[in-house]
Amino acid sequence: MSAISRRDFLKKSSQAISITTLASGVSLTAFAAKQEVDEGVSNEKRWGMLVDTGKLTSEDTEAMVSACQKENGWGNEVHSDDLQKPEWIRKVSVKDRATQKITDLVLMCQHCESPPCVDVCPTNASMKRADGIVLVDAHRCIGCRYCMLACPYDARFFVHETLTEQLPHRPRGKGTVEACTLCVHRVDDGKQPACVEACKSEAVVFGDLYDTNSQISKQLKQYPSTQIRADLNLNTGVRYTNI
């Protein structure tokens, strides 16, 4: 082999190196797969519930309450007194003062579109998810209970005692505030909230409010329905008929 000059050697080797660097770069980017990142839910859907108080029976309300207790692990707070005990969903009797008509309904977090609890929370623990479900991020909750004051439906509850044996899908602990989550762990899996499934008469309907073909949208379009405390303009996700 003829002797190659130093200058030529440097030229040729730098050419070779630069070509291989560029080539490998091009081929690596060509074959690089975009990593799947789960961005979470979007506001394409808005979850809501419609309660027909005309069809709701007392067995239904009891079944709904105990289904919620079983699904989420509340109801066993032995060290809390009656005012302190959480009631994520409860039966409420409403009497019309003019007509004296009594209506029984179930009341839970109404998952408002403009939730007062979210407005007042100092730490952004009280939050509205993109799909309309209002939640308490217990990692951020400092237990100030401002959201409990702000909620017009008295739907938020402070945990006063040390809890054990929490359900794995529903952590809850002393010093934070909790409320109905619309069974977000079930909803995210395509199921319905536990209370809706427990209601044997078809008094409670759950679904996507933005989907015009969903049963709830069709019923809301067909029958007159109201929000509780509609005067507050909260645009609740939970609506009632026959009250």
């Binding site: 979470g40 939640l135 809890l163 929490q166 794995p168 899908h169 952590p171 899996d189």
Partner: protein
């Protein structure tokens, strides 16, 4: 390279490697982890990575799942840790709480004196009932 240089290089590399800190013989690994045969790794990640990064891994996961609605999975899930690393009682009557003294978390957290806040709310033992989330796994 000189012998001294090589020796120095070997010593530096070995002290900066993770094998020394990955020695988990002093940690109560947990009933399932002990039998899993994947010593040195946790679901594919090296233990040293998990030790160092578990606060941010858990924080990111909680943020994405709770606030953004990402799909729940066992990867970097606190309940995933508990399911593997909780120690079953000798009489099979249940599990010891994972944050109890002498259990898995305490091995490091007691020594470095950083208090654990997770288990005020999160379950400390694996769940054997028909919880919805458990059924999914």
């Amino acid at each position: 390279m000189s012998i001294r240089g090589t020796l120095l290089f070997v010593l530096i590399v070995s002290f900066s490697s993770t094998t020394i800190y990955g020695n988990d013989s002093f940690v109560l690994a947990g009933s399932v982890a002990y039998k899993s045969g994947t010593s040195g790794f946790c679901n594919g990640d090296p233990i040293a990575y998990i030790i160092r990064q578990h606060p941010s891994l858990l924080t990111h996961k909680q943020d994405m799942v709770l606030r953004h609605g990402a799909k729940k999975s066992t990867q970097y899930s606190l309940q995933g840790c508990v399911n593997c690393h909780a120690v079953e009682k000798a009489d099979k009557s249940g599990y010891y709480a994972i944050d109890a003294k002498g259990q898995f978390c305490a091995a490091c957290h007691q020594e470095i004196a950083i208090s654990l806040d997770c288990f005020q709310c999160h379950r400390t033992t694996p769940y054997n009932g028909k919880s919805y989330y458990q059924r999914k796994q």
